[in-house]
Symmetry: C2
Subunit: 258 residues, 2 copies
């Protein structure tokens, strides 16, 4: 009998989120699952790592009903993957690292702010095949039923074919309220940004504080982007790399008098 | 008389760090300076933003001796740039955003973990010319004297020529202990990663905790990288973009049966 693939699972909404439970259930059909996930929500943590504090890592009973080995960590999603690789798994090399399913979209430039994707990109830096899954629905009780089939299919293909080295897939799914999914598009990251606003409030002691609020503005009308795909009810897959070098700008900088 | 350029300054070591004071002193010779920086150290925060909590933003007197407008913020470097752009500066558009000078290197893949670079990249997302400066010396009392000339030169060139839109420069300087600087190289981000280890300890109550420790391992011997430049006592400039799409991996994913 062939050995079952080893699948490491993390997320950024925390180990008790509905999204990670859904992902654990699906991956449990494909291989042996180990979960190392944050013990509290880590949304917006980007690629943060914990360097000025120590970390806690404790056995979790979140998936005891399924007999799955799980750990909860006080750190960020990137910390979880580092702890999983170098401490929990040690000599057991995962065949796939999956993160999510995030409650909320991680399209376009949000890949930079996303804890979900930071777990996947951290795995890619380690040379492991990795996928971050996100559903465009922020609800705590979001409905993941319509995407189970696709999550399983995409992970199966990654296990069967591999993912190009040092690449992590950023997979986003339309919400169920948008109706039937039309298919899957491999896309580029759209050019978009947050148009921010700060909601200024006064605390009971008279001191100001601020909430970050904003609208996400697309500056990209093309049809080959993740924004277009999701707007048109396709699943978007953006292969992401972590070499951020802007090669195309070398000639401009080379002309500087430095 | 020509209007002085407006220069926004942030960092990740916090508003009281020696590195940001050095940067403020240098930029004060080039333009009108406004500082919005974290009120405490934010190293390793990557591109984290504060979405589950509110933010504090208070007038700072850290640069009162120089008559410079400054604010300290409870959030991350990316939060500081957002607050600066959308709340503090509002209709005043900075001609340049600089971050640092970081106490410690931000070479290679560390651009992802770096709070210093997240401030610069956040500015680039906003379409502003941006530079992150880092010195390869982690000391609290690091010596910045040998790089003042170069910081001023690079910022002057950026003000004179502009930086390609949506690009942030990641500038790293050799430490003074390495001797005389040989010059400046425009480089690509080296392929390297952390070989991590977790230092496992028992707290006074018998519960385990962990410190992240590790060695930074280069997997890239080429001479066009930031690691090579700094090893050979050059200043490295890596132009960085935030489109993380791995275009070269599209054909492989396109062959999947999905």
């Amino acid at each position: 009998m062939q050995k079952k693939p080893l699948i490491l699972i993390s997320n950024d909404d925390g180990i008790t989120a509905k999204g990670i439970r859904t992902l654990v259930e699906i991956m449990n059909e494909l291989g042996e699952v180990v979960v190392v996930a944050p013990d509290s929500p880590q949304s917006g943590m980007g690629h943060a790592i914990t360097v000025n504090n120590s970390l806690r890592l404790d056995k979790s009973f979140a998936f005891e009903d399924m007999g799955i080995e799980a750990y909860e960590c006080s750190g960020t999603p990137a910390d979880c993957v580092k702890l999983a690789k170098h401490h929990v798994l040690k000599d057991r090399k995962p065949d796939l690292v999956v993160s999510g399913i995030n409650h909320g979209s991680n399209i376009s430039v949000n890949v930079l702010y996303s804890g979900t994707m930071s777990a996947a990109i951290e795995a890619a830096i380690e040379g492991l095949p990795a996928i971050g899954f996100s559903l465009c629905d922020y609800a705590h009780n979001a409905d993941f039923s319509h995407i189970r089939h696709y999550v399983k299919k995409i992970a199966s293909e990654a296990l069967a074919n591999g993912i190009p080295k040092y690449v992590a897939l950023n997979v986003n799914f339309p919400s169920i309220v948008k109706g039937e999914i039309k298919g899957i598009k491999v896309c580029r990251q759209a050019r978009a940004r947050w148009q921010e606003n700060f909601d200024e409030r006064k605390d009971p002691y008279g001191r100001m504080y601020y909430w970050l609020v904003g609208d996400f503005i697309s500056e990209d009308d093309a049809h080959d982007t993740d924004i277009w795909a999701l707007d048109n009810n396709y699943i978007s897959i953006v292969p992401c790399k972590f070499d951020m070098t802007a090669y195309e700008s070398f000639p401009a900088i080379a002309q500087w008098d430095i």
